[in-house]
Amino acid sequence: MSAPEHDSQHEPNEPFAAPALDHEIVSFLALPPAAVGADSDSDARLIHALAIAHRLPDGADAVLHRVRARLSAAPSPVDADDGDDLGDFSAGEGLASLPPHWSSARHGSRATAAMRTLAAGLVIALLAGGYLALLRSRGTEQVPPPQARGWRDASITTARTSHPLDFHSSDGISYAVATTGGTVYACGSGHLWYSTDGGATYQSFTPELPPPPAIEQPLPSGATLDRCVIVTVPGLPGVFAFERVIGLGQDLPRAIGYATPGSNRWQDIPMTPNAQSVNPPPSQGILLDPYSIAQQLAYDGTAQASQGWLYLPLHQQNNTPSTQVPNLLLIGTPDFGGSWYWIDSTLFRQHALSCARVVVQPDDARRIACEVDNGDGTHSIWLTTDRGASWVSLPAPSIAPAHLAAITSRGVYATTDPTPEASGGLLLRLPDLTAGWRLVAPFPSPAAALAAGTEREVAVGRDGAVYVAQRVSDEASTTVQVDMLPKGASRFVSVAPARRFTPARGGVAFGGLDGQTPTVYLGAAVSFKGSVAPLERLALVPSSLPSPVYTPVPTVAPTAEPPTPRPQCAKVPITLAANRPGGLGAPVSTFPAVWGQPKANPGGREIFTLAGGTLTLDAPAGDGRASGMTYTVYPNVTLSLAQAQSLARQLMPTDAREIYIGAPVVHPIAHAYCSGGLWAAFPPGTYDFTMGTFEVDYYTRTDGKSVDHFTIALAMLG
C-alpha cells in the first residue's frame, strides 16, 4: 500500500467517493473527448485514460466473428447421446465455471452435510470401481489408443509364398487392399496372389485369371497387354480385374471380372440394354457400355458397395441433350450388372444437380450421401435415405465449406478446409437432419516434412474410430503421416509420425476397418504399370495379436440367382463374315452388287440411291471398307423411325448388337452397337481403336416423327 486508504464517503468534494462513484464516472465519461485536454480536470483525464485503456483492441471484430462461427459449429447442447465429439471443448465446463459464491439456506446441519458428502463419495467410488472392473473383465466397445509398431514391408517379394512366384518382380507389381475384410491382392505379369495376414504370407489366387480371349488380334509393335489392373471396392471383399492395351495412345480397360479367393470362377459384369430408373420415367439416354463401367471401376476409385448393391458415378458422353441426362450420374446395380438404376435421377430432374462424389453407408445401402457441384464454384452435400427416391440438402456448416468424407450409422462425416482455429481443417459430423453439424475434432496439422500439396485420406471404422493419413509425393519419395481419433476422443493422436519413403510409393489404402485389424497400406493404388516399389503396411494394433481368420467368400452375385452371362462386344467372334456385302465394314466394292451403280462420286465418296433416298459412303483411304455412311431421305418421301431403323439394320453387320438403350425420340436419336465383324474390319492399330463399336444417329424432321436422315459411323465408346 502506498498510502493509507480510507473511506471518503463523507468528503463532499471527492468525486471518487464511494457513494457517488457510479454517477461521477458516468459524468466524466460523458464529457466530449475534446474537452479532456491537458488543462482539464485531472480526474476527468484519468477516467478517460482508463476508458481508452480498456477499449477493445484492433482485431476484436474478427475475433467476435470467428467465435460466433465456432459457436454455430459447436456440438449440439441437446443431443447428449454418447458424450463424444466434444472437440476442443470439454463437457461440463459450464458447470465447473459457475459462480462460486452462491449462498442459500442450508439443508441440514454441517455434520449432516458432511455425512452426505462422504456417503456420496463412497457410492461414486464404488460405481467407478465396478465399472473399471467390468472393463477389465469384459472389455469395452471404445477403441483403445492406437498402438502401431511402425511401418513394415508387406510386399510379396519379401513375404513367404505358398510356392515360387510365377512372375518377375522387376516387371512391376500392382497391389490392392480390400477395405472390407482386409485382404491384400498382388498381381504381376498376369498372375494374381493374395494375403490374408497383412502381407506376411501370400497364396496364389484361385480362380486364376482367365487367359486372354482368342479373339485378340496380334498387338501392334510397341503395344503390350496389361492384365494386372486390380481394384477393390469398399463393401466388397474380393477383387476386380481388368486388362488393357498399353502403347496405342488409348488406355481403355476391359473387365475380366470379379472374384474372391477360392471361388469357382470370375464373375462377369454383364451389360444390359434394359437400364431403368428407380423412378419413372426410364433413364433413357444413359450410356451403359462395358468400357465406361470398366473405366469408372478401374481408374476412378469412386465405386462403393453395400448390402449387395454396387454404386458408381458414371461419366456420360455429350451425345444427348443436357436437359435429359447429366454429364455425370450415379448408377447402381443390385444384381452385379443385370440391371442398372439411375440413382440421382430425382436430384437431377428437380434440382439440375448430380453427384460428383458419393459415399454409401456400409450397413444400409439405402443411405447415400453425395457431394454435388452447384455450378457456381461451391459444393453442397445431399442425402437420400431411400436409394434416390428423394433427396435432401444438408445444411452447410457456417464455419467453413464442408467436403463429404463418409457416412455411417452415426451420421454423415465431412471435412473442412483449414480454418483460423485449425490449420489442418476440422472433422464434422451431422448426426441427423434435425441437428446441426457437430465438431468431432480438429485435424492434426501436417508435419513440416509434409509440404504444400498434401493429400489427405480419411476413413471411419465400424467401431467409430477415425483414421487420417496425410501424404505428399514427389518423383523421388513419398512422405506420409498417420493419426487416429479413437471413438469418444476429442483429439487425434499420432499413430505414425511423418516418414519419408524412397522411392515414391503409390496411394494410401485402409484395410480391415470393418472390425478386423485396422491397417494402413502405402503403395496400393492403381497405376499405369505395376510399381517396383514395395508395399508398406502399418498395423494399428500390436502385431503379436492373432491375425483375423479369413474365410474365403464364394463368388456369387449379390442376388440369389446369378444373372445369366450376356454376350459382350469383346467376346463375340471376330470374323469378317459378319459384315454384309454392301454394309458397314464391307468393302466398298460390294455395294454396287447390292445397291446398284453409284450415282455420283464427289470427293471420293460413293453415292447410291435406294428406297427413296441417297446413301453416301465413307471409307478410309486405302482400306476400301465402309467405315461410315449417311442416308438422306428425299424431301417428298416420308420415312418413319421404324422404317429407318429397319433400313439401318440392313446396313449393319449381322452380329451388330445394341449395347445401350436409345435416346428418347427427339432430335437426335442415338443408338450404339458393337460388332465382332466390324472389329475384324477395323482392328486396333489399323484405323481406329473402336473395338468394333459404332453408332447410329437418326435426325427427325420438324414433325418430330419422320426421319430426315441418319448416319452410321465408327464410334469409340466409353
Binding site: 502506498s2 486508504e5 473511506d7 471518503s8 471518487f16 464511494a18 462513484l21 473527448p33 479532456v36 485536454g37 491537458a38 484519468l46 478517460h48 485514460a49 482508463l50 481508452i52 485503456a53 480498456h54 477499449r55 477493445l56 483492441p57 482485431g59 475475433v63 467476435l64 470467428r66 467465435v67 460466433r68 465456432r70 459457436l71 454455430s72 449440439s76 447442447p77 441437446v78 443431443d79 465446463e93 458447470l95 465447473a96 465455471s97 459457475l98 459462480p99 462460486p100 459464491h101 452462491w102 452435510a113 452426505r116 458428502t117 456420496a120 457410492v123 461414486i124 467407478a128 473399471l132 477389465r136 472389455g139 469395452t140 471404445q142 483403445p144 498402438q147 441437428a435 446441426g436 500390436p542
Partner: protein, 224 residues
C-alpha cells in the same frame, strides 16, 4: 488386446465412464450441493437486472434450435462486453478469443438445460476462466491485450497526451488483482457497482469502496 490396453492405460479409461454412470454421479453431487446450501446450476436464477429474458426461455424441451437461437442472441448482445473484459485481463487477443468461446459454449449448454444466463453470469464465468488461465500458466509480465493496444496509440487518436496514457496503463497494471478486476468490469464491460458486486461476490458498498480505492490510488500516484 483390450485387457492389455486397459491395464496400461487405466486412468484414461476413467474418462470413458458411460453417461448413465455420470448421471448417477451428477445426481449424487446435486444432492450433496443441496445439503451444503449451494444451489446447483439448474436452479440458478438470473443474476442481474440486465439478464436476458426470453418469453419462451431456452429449455431443453424446446430443443436445440431455441437454445442456439438464444445463445446467439446472448452473443450478439454481450460478446462485445465480455471480450473487452477479457482483453483487459489476458495478455493476448487469441487468449481472449479462446476464453470467449469457452464462455459462450458454457452459455449454450446453460441455455439447453435451464434458465437463460445474463451478462452477470457470463462475466462471472469469464472471471473464472481468467483465473483458470493464470493457474495453467505462469503469471506473465505482459500487459493485457487492450492495454498494449492503447499504449501503442498515437496522440492523434485521443485528446490525452500519449505519455499520460501510458503512465495510467503502467499504474493500473501495478494495482492489486481485485482492483484491476473491478476496473476492468467497470470500464471494459461497462458494469455498474451493483452488477460488479454480484460478479465479485461482494456487497455493493464494498465494491464501491474497492473502485474508489483504486481510483484514488491511481490519482495519487499519477500526481507524484
Amino acid at each position: 488386446m483390450l485387457d492389455a490396453a486397459v491395464s496400461v492405460r487405466a486412468p484414461e479409461t476413467c474418462r470413458s465412464l458411460p453417461p448413465s454412470l455420470w448421471r448417477w454421479a451428477a445426481a449424487l453431487w446435486h444432492w450433496v450441493l443441496l445439503s451444503r446450501g449451494e444451489p446447483p446450476a439448474a436452479r440458478q436464477p438470473p443474476e442481474t437486472a440486465t439478464s436476458v429474458t426470453a418469453s419462451n426461455g431456452c429449455h431443453r424441451a424446446q430443443g436445440e434450435v431455441d437454445a442456439r437461437a438464444l445463445a446467439d442472441r446472448l452473443y450478439q448482445e454481450h460478446a462485445h462486453a465480455v471480450l473487452a473484459y477479457l482483453c483487459a485481463r489476458l495478455p493476448a487477443l487469441h487468449d481472449a478469443e479462446d476464453v470467449l468461446a469457452d464462455v459462450f459454449l458454457a452459455a449454450l449448454a446453460q441455455c439447453a438445460t435451464t434458465e437463460p444466463p445474463g451478462i452477470g453470469w457470463l462475466l462471472t464465468v469469464a472471471r473464472r476462466r481468467v483465473a483458470d488461465f493464470y493457474r495453467r500458466r505462469r503469471a506473465t509480465a505482459d500487459l493485457p491485450a487492450s492495454f498494449a493496444a492503447a499504449a501503442a496509440m498515437g496522440p492523434e487518436e485521443h485528446a490525452l497526451r500519449a505519455e499520460e496514457l501510458r503512465e495510467v496503463i503502467a499504474r493500473v497494471a501495478l494495482l492489486p488483482e481485485d482492483q484491476r478486476d473491478a476496473l476492468a468490469l467497470r470500464f471494459a464491460a461497462d458494469m455498474r457497482s451493483p452488477q460488479i458486486a454480484a460478479i465479485l461476490g461482494k456487497s455493493e458498498e464494498a465494491t464501491r469502496a474497492l473502485l474508489s480505492r483504486a481510483l484514488r490510488r491511481l490519482r495519487k500516484e499519477l500526481a507524484q
